[in-house]
């Protein structure tokens, strides 16, 4: 029997290998692999929707020596988001890379990255997570440096080194856990783990390593230059997916595996770091001179929002309120993924049309490309958290929990963050209103503008209005 989980990882992997082997056909092969991979992910999604969770052992080898893949609602949701972004990025890339050799370099690395990401989301044990995490870091850094400019290479070299440091720290935590419990399987570990010095140090080490990769304040310093200097489709994938993958692991560890170990104090610390990330990231985004830098700093702030959920989740007892809050967290992560991908893709078009991406001088370009400006506006709506985007619902539930659990101070942070986000988004949008000539049509370059627009639109309209199905997918709420 063919296994949907294995396909979700192997299709992009095989596609990447083929694209390496036949560079002349890299683009066609890449697109084909992307389409098949999207179908495989859709298959996983349907399976999880019906069964609640899926598990498979590769080649029939049982753990601990074999490799197991597991999909639950959370991983399926992120898998689907990644597939949407990947499809958008893929189509966009066919219009974006005009030189053949750039496409030939892009596709193998990109498909490898996607395979690593899917592997990470489906991995059932800590060591497979390590391997996929490393693979993700390597491919991400290589892709980020694809333009070959000094800024891009040095920013991404730093990203690579920081990522390696994070992985090593994470691996040390894994070794500690194996010493204490003799297993690496996520489910088994969650069952046996006990609060104590070993578990606590493992948690600290693994979280520190992952926080470096997730660009959690104050370990975010590498992100803005690395993401801002990469080619647009790569920036989109880095900001929307790669950072999210590291955060996904933090979430898994804190909420599933280490749940008994996490103290309110530790959870509040995460919340505090998140709050600082929101304020600092938004402020720096507002002060950025360049559009892509603005988008990169906004990612720092958005990761902060996700961290804000942790102290509230920790404070709530298991029950429907906690479930709602958890789904809201996933909803915000998904919304940000789609919106940020759309924003970076649009920023890439603006940059190419204008020859630069200095916000203050964007006037003519912003007015010339209505569809692209519209994409920025839609993505901005989601980043600010205005209705009807998914992040509006996420923030609503987040603030409700903050009031109900008495931790009202987080609300102040959210308010300041929202207003700062509005300020930086509209700082860009206001450039679209000027005395330049009227554009003749809405869409000027369909192959690049439409994927960006659709991604941003999905973050606003689809995730906002159809959010309820996410509860069903994650097996929570009344539907479950």
């Amino acid at each position: 029997m063919v296994d949907s989980l294995a396909l979700a990882v192997s299709v992009p992997l095989v596609g990447g290998l083929l694209a390496t082997a036949i560079p002349k056909r890299a683009q066609a092969l890449g697109l084909l692999a992307s389409l098949v991979a999207v179908i495989a992910v859709a298959w996983v999604l349907v399976g999880v929707w019906q069964e609640g969770s899926l598990r498979s052992e590769l080649g029939g080898w049982a753990a601990p020596l074999g490799i197991a893949l597991v999909a639950d609602g959370l991983s399926a949701a992120l898998l689907a988001m990644a597939a949407l972004v990947a499809l958008g990025v893929g189509v966009y890339a066919t219009g974006y890379f005009r030189r053949g050799d750039a496409a030939a370099h892009f596709w193998p690395l990109w498909l490898l990255l996607w395979a690593a990401l899917n592997g990470l989301l489906l991995a059932a044990d800590l060591f497979n997570i390590y391997v996929t995490l490393e693979l993700l870091g390597l491919t991400a850094a290589a892709l980020g440096a694809l333009t070959g400019s000094v800024e891009a290479v040095s920013a991404n070299l730093r990203y690579l080194l920081v990522g390696l440091l994070g992985s090593m720290t994470y691996l040390l935590g894994v070794a500690l856990l194996y010493t204490a419990h003799g297993t690496l399987d996520l489910g088994l570990l969650a069952a046996v783990i006990q609060p104590g010095p070993v578990a606590a140090s493992a948690l600290v080490l693994m979280t520190a390593g992952l926080a470096l990769k997730a660009a959690l304040f104050p370990l975010h310093f590498w992100l803005p230059p690395a993401h801002a200097n990469a080619p647009a489709p790569v920036s989109a994938a880095l900001s929307a997916l790669v950072v999210k993958a590291a955060f996904y692991l933090i979430l898994r560890l804190w909420l599933d595996v280490f749940a008994p170990v996490v103290t309110p104090w530790a959870a509040s610390l995460m919340g505090l770091l998140g709050a600082m990330a929101i304020i600092w990231g938004s402020w720096r985004a507002l002060r950025s001179e360049r559009l892509k830098l603005l988008a990169a700093y906004s990612t720092v702030a958005q990761i902060g929002y996700l961290c804000l959920f942790i102290p509230l989740l920790q404070a709530l007892p298991p029950g429907s309120e906690r479930d709602d809050l958890f789904v809201a967290l996933v909803l915000m992560a998904l919304t940000h993924g789609l919106a940020k991908a759309g924003l970076f893709l649009a920023a890439g078009l603006v940059q190419r049309d204008a020859g630069h991406d200095r916000i203050d001088d964007l006037g003519g370009t912003a007015q010339n490309m209505p569809a692209t400006t519209f994409t920025i506006a839609l993505a901005g709506t989601a980043l600010i958290g205005l209705p009807p985007s998914g992040s509006f619902i996420g923030k609503w539930i987040l603030m409700t929990s903050a009031i109900e659990s008495g931790q009202w101070w987080w609300i102040l942070v959210i308010l300041v963050g929202t207003l700062l986000a509005a300020a930086y988004v509209f700082r860009v949008l206001s450039r679209a209103f000027n005395l330049e000539p009227t554009p003749r049509r809405f869409v000027t370059q369909a192959r690049t503008e439409v994927p960006a627009l659709l991604l941003a639109l999905a973050s606003v309209a689809v995730l906002g209005l159809a959010a309820d199905s996410l509860w069903r997918l994650l097996g929570m709420g009344e539907g479950a």
């Binding site: 601990p64 693979l135 390597l138 440096a145 070959g148 440091l165 691996l171 070794a175 194996y178 010493t179």
Partner: protein, 92 residues
């Protein structure tokens, strides 16, 4: 006892590597530091494979082998990127 010695040495190596990574700026030193950190973790993993009378636990061995492969490729990529930077700077 040997297990403790070996594992302890691993932790010390890790700490040394971390210190060197944070303190020194040159790319090569940072890379060596990262590899030393990696060796530290591998030491620790090998140490915990010992199970007294029983044959050693194969899982940590598999982990170390995979880990070494990953570390080598990461080092190679970092070196390639470093070289690219050096060429650019030389060309100016």
């Amino acid at each position: 006892m040997a297990q403790l010695l070996y594992g302890g040495a691993g932790v010390v190596l890790f700490a040394l590597g971390l210190w060197a990574f944070l303190v020194y700026t040159p790319l090569l030193r940072k890379l060596i530091a990262l590899n030393i950190m990696g060796s530290g973790v591998f030491h620790l993993l090998i140490a915990i494979a010992e199970r007294g009378e029983l044959p050693p636990d194969p899982v940590p061995h598999a982990l170390v082998l995979t880990g070494i492969v990953v570390a080598v490729s990461a080092t190679a990529l970092a070196l390639a990127m470093g070289r690219r930077l050096e060429e650019d700077e030389g060309g100016r």
